[in-house]
Amino acid sequence: MTEPVLEVRNLTKVYRQRRGEDVVAVDDIGFIIKKNEVVGLLGPNGAGKTTTIKCICTLIRPTSGSIRINGTDAQRNTRIALRHVAAVLEGNRNIYWRLSVRENLEFFAGLQGIRSGRVRSYIDELIEMFQLKEKERTDARNLSRGMQQKLAVACALVKKTEVLLLDEPTLGLDVETSHELRFALKEMARRGERTIILSSHDMSVVQDICERVIIVNNGKIVTDDQVANLLRLFQASAYRFEIEGRLSKQQERQLEERFEMLKISETDHHTEIEAQLEDGNRIYEVMDILKAGDSRIRSIARKEPNLEEIFLNIVKGGKN
């Protein structure tokens, strides 16, 4: 369980521009992913997720750094490395629109060098798993966007590679199909048969499917941790205070100066303050400020965190 399947070290990609400044899309990123891990690559638009993924599957040549897949250097022994990795890239562009569902699956097995006889039953299984049975003979271009995406994932799976890269797999899908696809991915993650790296700027997708998350922003890794750890960490330190009336300007200023990730919302009769307190004792600091202004505290409670807030917090923190 502990052997590394993917090792990315000091990966940097600079897009040289003929006009204007060069773009540093990925800036000295490194991580190690173990067999059968399911990892989310989370980051806002332009963070460098696609570039990282395409570097891993050799579609983009890194400016520097190394990538090893199953111990093989992806730049030096590209073809051997490619035996171990399949990718579904951004958008609905990974399949042949003029081939049917089954024909696509057979073709991509062949492209990988796998004889169709050897994957026939697996193809049946995939068609079943992604609920494409009725559309088996339909051309991909006549499928709904969601089905096309499911087919694309199935076409990556049929290659039977250890590593599966999914770039924004649920982007542009309606809620229902997005959930169907997530369900299938979760099922795969649960079975623990593949090492999956899934990029998204949608935290709920990552929270739903992945056990570990790597948060990137501006081409750099900001956090790399188990999703559960992150949630726990933030659960322990996120508090909500409710007071009667409003805060004075002075109180607001003091709070802002001393606490990060502060959120103040006022209604007619009371005010809610949310704060991230790395140390439980800092509750008293907040209480001191509130008391000094004669505010009456109604309640203090721990807040249930979600990955979205953690993400926003970390990304904001990473910027300054």
Binding site: A25, L59, A86, N92, L111
Partner: protein, 258 residues
Amino acid sequence: MRYLILFKALLKQEFILMRRYLFNTIVSLIGIYIIFLLIFFGAHALGGGAPEFGATLDAIVVGFLVWTFALFAYSDLAHGMVREAQEGTLEQLYMSPVGFTWVSLFRIVSRFWVMLTFNIMLLVLMMATTGRWLHLDVVSLLPLIVLTLAGVHGMAFATGGLALVFKRVESFIGILQFAVVGLIAAPVGRFPLLRYLPLAEGNRLIRRVMAEGLSIFELPATDLLFLLANSVLWFGLGFLAFKLLVNVARDRGLLGHY
């Protein structure tokens, strides 16, 4: 083994597409046939009286055949590549562990058979309408056609590669198709330098086989060697340029970027 499996997959894909889009192919064949009729009967009307005119008509049939071959080969490959880049499947092809080089080579070989089928149909049609039955010595023709097309494929690879890096080249591909006509009609006899371009020499030798009834063994060995060198060179250069350009595209992140 992997190579064979890959080749089979590509071949199968071609045949599926051919069957499914048979109607489109037939429509374009009819279009080409109509152009042929216009040229042939136009030429007939202009110079029908001259005694040596039969030879010219034969040359037109052969030239037309080579032209359709070259046109299909060129536009299929160059346009096909641009289209796959746009549709995103080129990136998937690139990720084949058998290697993108083999994917590209097998793809043109598998297209060749599809193309051959249609061109034979077209040829029979052309010969039937004109009443000029030419010599169809398959053993002599096949190697000549393959060699002739190799040079064309080199050009197609190079322009396809250019289009991946410089998106604007795409419109240029259409123009180059017509340059191909020039190469076929090139008066190699008068300007020997033209022999060094792709296609011209091959077309001349194919004409000798089909119109004069020579077998490949009766052609001058020097001519054959020249054709071989010419084709290998153009194909090699084109393919090398293509591989280079693909790497440039990979450097700039353009392989599937539209």
